[in-house]
């Protein structure tokens, strides 16, 4: 759960929160491409350090470090697997592989921590993505807390009948857990039907292309960052491919 939290938006006042999701996305693409191109631990550590700096700018070091901590285990697994699977390539390679994973996770976590899902969906829609897609994104995030609350109620009801979730052997626990999920799944399916009904009743799925209420606007800084990010991205890619003569 704590890992998921590291990817959920936390409303705060910071320069990073203020940026348009699109300009931030350019930077994210830059990080992704760079960490995928370079398998050099030094470059990857530099990338990681810059994400640390950005998380300070974004005032979310605490939440961010939570997700990084959670991914550390995975990074370790990647390291060991690489050492075992390809012993010929050495420890540096294994280290670079796990650093790559770590810096990617760190960058994405920071992106989602500082970007309201709806702003992201809106800017995707403004960028031309169909509403079906962006709505799916907003709805799935919108109903996370509702689902968590439903799970709590079902668990309460289950325990109120004297049933235990945390005792017995694994088979018993698994069995109990499956029982607990029954009402939850039935209920969520019903809920999704109710949501679909409500959507249709509000004109969703019509013949015309949906318009946008208060479409997101890029600021001057957003444009500068986008431009800067695109240039940096171009330089990195060209450098990697070898500059054309």
């Amino acid at each position: 759960m704590s890992m998921l939290e590291g990817f959920l938006y936390k409303p705060k006042e910071s320069p990073l929160h203020k940026l348009d999701p699109r300009s931030k996305a350019v930077i994210l693409v830059f990080y992704t491409v760079t960490s995928l191109i370079y398998l050099d631990p030094i470059v990857l550590i530099l990338l990681l350090l810059s994400v640390v700096l950005l998380s300070i700018v974004g005032k979310c070091v605490r939440e961010w470090s939570k997700s990084v901590k959670a991914t550390l285990t995975f990074a370790l697994v990647i390291f060991i697997l690489n050492v075992l699977a390809s012993p010929g390539l050495g420890y540096t390679y294994a280290l670079a592989m796990s650093l790559r994973f770590l810096s990617l996770a760190a960058a994405f976590s920071l992106y989602f921590l500082t970007t309201p899902p709806e702003a992201l969906a809106l800017s995707l829609e403004a960028a031309g993505l169909p509403r079906d897609f962006t709505l799916m994104l907003t709805l799935s995030l919108r109903f996370v807390p509702t689902l968590a609350r439903d799970l709590q109620i079902v668990t309460d009801a289950f325990r109120s009948r004297g049933l235990k979730l945390d005792s017995g052997n694994y088979v018993e626990r698994l069995y109990n857990f499956a029982k607990l999920l029954t009402p939850l799944i039935v209920f969520e399916i019903r809920r999704s039907l109710m949501i679909a009904e409500a959507l249709e009743s509000r004109g969703f799925g019509g013949a015309v292309k949906p318009s946008l209420y208060k479409p997101p606007k890029m600021s001057l800084i957003d444009y500068m960052i986008t431009a800067g990010g695109l240039v940096a991205l171009g330089v990195i890619v060209c450098y990697h491919l070898g500059f054309p003569q």
Binding site: A157, R159, K179
Partner: protein, 278 residues
């Protein structure tokens, strides 16, 4: 051991996400009583009753159920003594068939198999679910699902039964059936705690009313006493029952004498016969 009180709450405080939701709750519920907790949504009613079977533990203060301190007793043990029926039946139906649903808690509490069978039969009959015994709980109507959720708790015979909003979303006929069940439970000497904002239902079925507002108990007393105080009900953001309100207006206009107590439609009709010369 025998205790006179079913539930005793002493100086209970509870907070959630650093917000105080229950403040200094003091409450005594005697065995065999029907107590109704009323108040608007968010007043803390559900939070309070979740303390009665230990789902929530006091942050400060004590909750004693049949002599057991809930903070020292696991839910699985308290559940044997306190049956809890939640508002929405759909969150509490776990089994594949109606009869398994009723048998579930019985088996869990280790009742011998012949006893399980007998209790299931009894519950199927009393709750009028007999013909659906092999059906999936989810194929029942909303009223039947509600009855099943109550049946699967009553079946294991807990001395205390707690019902959260038993009438919410139920039609008139279902409400009548639930009222009959309450009467039956009363005959069986059960202690009943009910949460509702349905004043017309509460006035007919409760021995005592507890009014809550903003996490506090603002008044408690015999049903008639609380229900007659329009000012108290207003503080709890409740509307007075229709008959009480009518009588209140008529008394204020000196059409009915203020000392007679009018509670039911019958009381009002009699009062009219005596005092209004038509």
């Amino acid at each position: 051991m025998d205790y006179e009180d079913a539930i005793v709450v002493k100086n209970l405080y509870f907070s959630y996400n650093e917000k105080l939701v229950l403040k200094n709750i003091n409450l005594q519920i005697k065995k065999g009583e029907i107590v109704t907790i009323m108040g608007e949504n968010g007043a803390g009613k559900t939070t309070l009753i979740k303390h009665f079977n230990g789902l929530l533990k006091p942050k400060k203060g004590k909750v004693i159920v049949l002599g057991m301190d809930t903070s020292q007793t696991p839910v699985s043990q308290l559940a044997r003594h306190v049956g809890m029926v939640f508002q929405n039946p759909d969150y509490q139906l776990f089994a594949e068939t109606v009869e398994e649903e009723i048998a579930m808690a019985l088996r869990n509490f280790g009742f011998p198999e012949e006893k399980v069978k007998a209790r299931v039969e009894w519950a199927l009959k009393v709750f009028e679910l007999d013909r659906y015994r092999k059906r999936s709980p989810y194929l029942l109507s909303i009223g039947e699902r509600k009855r099943l959720s109550i049946a699967s708790v009553i079946s294991y015979d807990p001395p205390i039964v707690v019902l959260d909003e038993p009438t919410a979303g139920q039609d008139f006929l279902q409400k009548e059936k639930i009222a009959e069940l309450l009467f039956l439970l009363k005959q069986m000497k059960k202690t009943i705690v009910m949460v509702t904002h349905d004043v017309e239902f509460a006035i007919k079925r409760s021995d005592r009313i507890v009014l809550m507002a903003d996490g506090e108990i603002i008044a408690q007393g015999p049903t008639f006493e609380i229900m007659s105080s329009i000012e108290l009900l207003e503080r709890a953001r409740l509307k007075p029952p229709q008959i009480i309100e009518t009588a209140y207006i008529l008394k204020r206009k000196n059409i009915l004498p203020s000392e007679i107590s009018i509670f039911t439609p019958k009381d009002l009709v009699e009062a009219i016969a005596k005092n209004v010369d038509a």
